[in-house]
Symmetry: C2
Subunit: 149 residues, 2 copies
């Protein structure tokens, strides 16, 4: 149990939080302009293929009962629909409506613009930064599969 000081790691945590906070702030602002609360916007932005509720819960790292409410909100706004799985009538797949596709495109466009603006600062070192972050994550296993594509 190494109790070394490692002040650089402390700094790194703080920096990561700041950068993530900046990104999340921008994302939430974009979501608010579409009249969407953060969690609903997060799902909308990352949903592509029809996805069972349970899978969404895993991806969000929360309880399935919570996902019910979030998807309820998206459904109420007409951005998403529940489609029963013909093979297993217990599961319901969440799918984008056409309105949902538009909202997703809007959110993703804003996210891309924001990322481009933020990381333009390190234009010449983007690949390096990416590799460093990736190797940080490679340390411990992360069971989160991507929801996109």
């Amino acid at each position: 149990m190494s109790a070394e000081a490692d002040p650089i790691a402390d700094e790194l945590s703080e920096l990561i939080f700041h950068v993530a906070g900046r990104l999340r702030g921008g994302f939430n602002a974009a979501a608010a302009e579409l009249g969407l609360p953060p969690a609903q916007a997060l799902v909308l932005a990352n949903l592509s293929a029809p996805t069972p509720m349970r899978e969404l819960a895993e991806w969000l790292s929360c309880e399935p009962s919570n996902v019910t409410g979030i998807v309820d909100g998206l459904e109420r706004r007409g951005l998403v629909a529940r489609r029963p799985d013909p093979a297993d009538r217990r599961v319901k797949h969440v799918v984008l409506t056409e309105e949902g596709e538009r909202g997703q495109a809007e959110l993703r466009a804003r996210g891309r613009a924001q990322a481009h603006a933020l990381f333009g600062q390190v234009e010449t070192e983007k690949e390096h930064l990416r590799d460093l972050l990736a190797s940080v994550l490679a340390g411990s296993p992360d069971p989160c599969k991507s929801l996109r594509r």
Copy 2:
């Protein structure tokens, strides 16, 4: 309005979110073991000098009315106290109790351990990673002052 693709920036956003999520997950777990909800733990971990409510609100990027509730929680648990400012009787300074000092030490120790574990992966490049992240943040103005020390 450059609408370039910039797929690296997209990747970077996702990576930042993942790393931050890992950190936040660990922090929240540590907080939960102390019986503290996330926001209260966040304040406890970062509070050092006596701090007016308004300043806390700025640091948390939220409305002052919200801070009231969070500090109420910490006060209810005996970790924090409200001390009136003798110079301006409108303001109340939030200060740590002895119990609060202990909780803060515990939270910070866990945070340090976690950061060390995570960023040990890039041992030889920590400084470089720090500089890259710092220059990302240098891009736009961030009015958030540190609460520590």
